[in-house]
């Protein structure tokens, strides 16, 4: 019995954190945010050298063969550094979809390339989370037609994992005839979100890609977004505490005023238990399947709420400076803002949690 991280898990997280602090400092994040595509190929390459793209892909396909817990630790490190790279969609949800639902040949064709970082996959499952009028991909006689919004990790993708209106999953190559990719501009300039329009695109269905696989990858994605908020929130608290310790007004550091000190304490008190919740949700995904959807819902909705509170409060601790681009705190603020909305906002997710427990009709 040990509710905590192993030394290997700590080493993995430390390695990613250290790499990002050296190779993806705020200056680099600013450069990427100002560029046309919110994605850093250099940082992606460096993370590939650490094995990040293959974190959950089994060793037989060239990956690290680790669990969702390790993936969550990587996601936390990426959120901490507002790293302008793919992760939840490209390196967790997409490979997981192929692992759970793909045929042998689909797995052999894609998993080794995804594990090495030689190919990148994006995920288009937003419609399975929350339907929207005029949006949706219809599969008919082996062809896909329609629109998918909020495609995760869309930039530079070679492959898309697409959910149709029944929740079944398909693979679509980025160069497939009839496919148009449109980037969506969001508040967060560190992650890439896109739109797909399809007119008679040849479908390559995942034979095991039914509703259950879709459910699993959404659970996994939600845990990754929760972990990203955990990391981003941790960074925002650290910055608030550091700023309050050095900023002097009325002849003393503002952190010695209880009004400011208590804001920091409230942030820490709210966020610290979230760490254990994210750990447990990731652990349950691999080891307690009965609880996995409920815990993914709790992690996603609770981290979204606490993340919003921390993002706002940390900004306020920084006073006017927190509101400016000079401090750069807004990169974390927006990162949390994006994480909160993707794959279902907290109210939607909590309603799912009620259904999962049989508290309301399915």
């Amino acid at each position: 019995m040990d509710f905590g991280l192993s030394s290997e898990q700590r080493m993995l997280q430390d390695a990613v954190t250290r790499y990002l602090s050296e190779q993806s400092p705020l200056g680099h994040v600013r450069d990427i945010a100002a560029a046309a595509t919110p994605y850093s190929p250099d940082v992606a390459t460096g993370l590939a050298d650490l094995g990040v793209p293959g974190v959950i892909i089994p060793a037989e396909f060239g990956g690290m063969g680790l669990g969702l817990m390790e993936a969550a630790l990587v996601a936390e490190a990426l959120g901490f550094s507002v790293a302008p790279v793919h992760f939840a969609g490209a390196h967790v949800m997409a490979p997981l979809a192929i692992l759970l639902g793909g045929s042998d040949s689909q797995q052999r064709a894609w998993l080794p390339k995804l594990a090495s970082g030689a190919a990148r996959a994006a995920v288009a499952v937003s419609q399975a989370v929350e339907g929207r009028d005029g949006v949706g991909v219809v599969a008919r006689d082996g062809w896909l037609d329609g629109t998918a919004l909020f495609v995760l990790d869309a930039a530079d993708a070679d492959l898309f994992v697409v959910a149709d209106t029944t929740g079944a999953l398909h693979l679509v190559a980025a160069d497939a005839p009839g496919l148009t990719q449109i980037p969506l501009t969001t508040i967060d300039k560190t992650r890439s979100v896109g739109e797909l329009r399809m007119t008679g695109v040849k479908a390559d269905p995942l034979p095991g890609g039914g509703g259950r696989t879709t459910r699993r990858i959404i659970d996994a994605g939600r845990i990754m977004l929760a972990a990203d908020i955990l990391g981003a929130g941790t960074a925002m608290i650290e910055q608030a505490v550091a700023y309050a310790g050095t900023r002097v007004q009325f002849g003393r550091p503002i952190g010695s005023f209880q009004a400011v000190k208590h804001m920091c304490a409230e942030m820490a008190a709210a966020l610290e238990p979230c760490r254990s919740l994210v750990w447990y949700a990731a652990h349950a995904f691999d080891h307690a399947p009965d609880e996995s959807t409920l815990m993914a819902c709790h992690a996603k909705s609770h981290l979204s709420e606490v993340g919003r509170f921390v993002a706002r409060t940390s900004t306020e601790v920084h006073g006017g400076m927190g509101f400016t681009d000079l401090a750069g705190l807004h990169y974390w603020f927006k990162r949390i803002g994006l994480d909160r909305q993707l794959l279902g906002g907290p109210e939607l997710v909590r309603n799912e949690a009620a259904r999962v427990q049989g508290w309301i009709a399915v």
Partner: protein, 402 residues
């Protein structure tokens, strides 16, 4: 992350289950933790100590079971007793605060005299710390103990002395050295509540019950030998016990049973056209609390694991009192809101739900948010000890006693 128990711990869990199966009928009915335990409860406590399910780590020489500390075994006992709906051993300020203090800092005579009868429920204690003028700033306490021959003579007033009416004994902070700095002039005394000069007045709270008392001392004579720790070290001695009190106030097991009762209420009670659970706004609030509860439960496991491995979870431990007391209060608040007009019924009103327990809890839990170190004091502790933030600059007041 390994949430499985070792073979030794699994075997221990089976032992606990066998015990519960054999003896659950002997458990006392009803709680009443704050009062003097019934003969039934005292007999139950004796049985639990004999089997190592209460006073588990207290040495045999002092009347305990004498097991080596094992946090996981303590947790298994707690879990299985809760699951079986069987009351655990006695819980009181004497057992949770005085006994650990004596074990740490008492003389051999004090340990032999007091620990055994206390853990067996034969001697009931109350705590004399807070004063009307010394709440959050406890170290400014003014109750005086002056020397007179072999005795201290005590004059002053304490407040929030729960169980003072039932108590046989008090552990009490008094000022013995008024000329020293405020933390250095305090001593920790233990004495009988039957000593002449003690008056106890019940303190009725917003719940309508007198859960606390005010206790007045007029020329109360206490032999000097009844000091715990050295003269002037009372602040240090008291802090050893406050640590134990704060641990008591954030038990996630209790939160979980309150939450389950709330979810059951919302599934079964109807309001308007359907079950309360069908109201999306109330349901959303319920799920929000459930997520927070899950976070606190796993945070508790993390803190437990850290101390089982000889470490300290730091921030994860420091936030428990603040967060758990607030969460408990919010669970009761939602139950009241879910009941609508029925939520206001109290005492022995017709149509009362859950014996009026939700309103009672809602009010009492506000007391817990304030007691044992207010929420604001907790935030100072989290910020200063957990986050390393600068302390408030001290003002030169209080006659130079800082």
């Amino acid at each position: 992350m390994d949430l499985t128990y070792s073979a030794e711990h699994q075997a221990f869990r089976r032992e606990v289950l066998v015990f519960l199966e054999a003896h659950h009928h002997a458990a006392p009915k009803g709680g009443g933790a704050a009062q003097r335990p019934s003969a039934e409860a005292v007999a139950w406590q004796k049985l639990l100590i004999a089997h190592g399910y209460a006073a588990r780590t207290i040495p045999k020489a002092y009347g305990g079971y004498g097991a080596a500390p094992d946090i996981l075994k303590s947790r298994i006992i707690g879990e299985e007793f809760a699951r079986a709906g069987v009351p655990p051993g006695l819980q009181s300020q004497g057992i949770s605060m005085l006994v650990p203090t004596l074990l740490e800092l008492g003389t051999e005579d004090q340990k032999r005299q007091w620990i055994g009868p206390t853990i067996h429920g034969e001697v009931i204690w109350c705590q004399g710390y807070s004063e009307p003028g010394s709440g959050s700033d406890l170290a400014s306490l003014q109750t005086r103990a002056t020397e007179d021959g072999d005795d201290f003579v005590i004059n002053g007033q304490k407040i929030w002395t729960s169980t003072a009416r039932e108590a046989d004994m008090i552990f009490c902070l008094v000022r013995t050295e008024p000329d020293k700095g405020k933390h250095d002039g305090i001593s920790y005394l233990i004495f009988s509540m039957k000593t002449p000069g003690i008056e106890v007045r019940p303190l009725v709270t917003m719940t309508g019950h007198a859960e606390f008392n005010e206790t007045f001392f007029t020329d109360v004579r206490v032999p000097k030998s009844q000091i715990v720790g050295k003269r002037g070290q009372g602040w240090f001695v008291a802090n050893a016990t406050l640590k134990h009190e704060r641990g008591m106030l954030g038990d996630p097991g209790q939160l979980e049973s309150r939450f389950l009762a709330l979810a059951e209420l919302m599934r079964t009670e109807t309001a308007g056209d359907g079950r309360i659970m069908d109201n999306p706004i109330l349901r959303d609030r319920l799920l929000r609390l459930q997520a927070e509860l899950a976070a606190m439960k796993f945070n508790g496991l993390r803190v437990l694991s850290a101390s089982a491995n000889g470490g300290d979870a730091g921030l994860a431990r420091l936030i428990v009192k603040l967060q758990a007391c607030e969460l408990a209060h919010q669970i009761s608040a939602l139950a009241i809101d879910a009941l609508g007009e029925l939520g206001v019924l109290y005492e022995s009103s017709p149509h009362l739900r859950a014996h009026g327990g939700w309103q009672q809890a809602y009010m009492f839990q506000l007391g817990l948010i304030i007691g044992g170190g207010t929420a604001q004091i907790q935030k100072n502790i989290i910020a200063e000890r957990g986050l390393g933030m600068p302390r408030e600059p001290k003002l030169a007041t209080d006659g130079g006693r800082l």
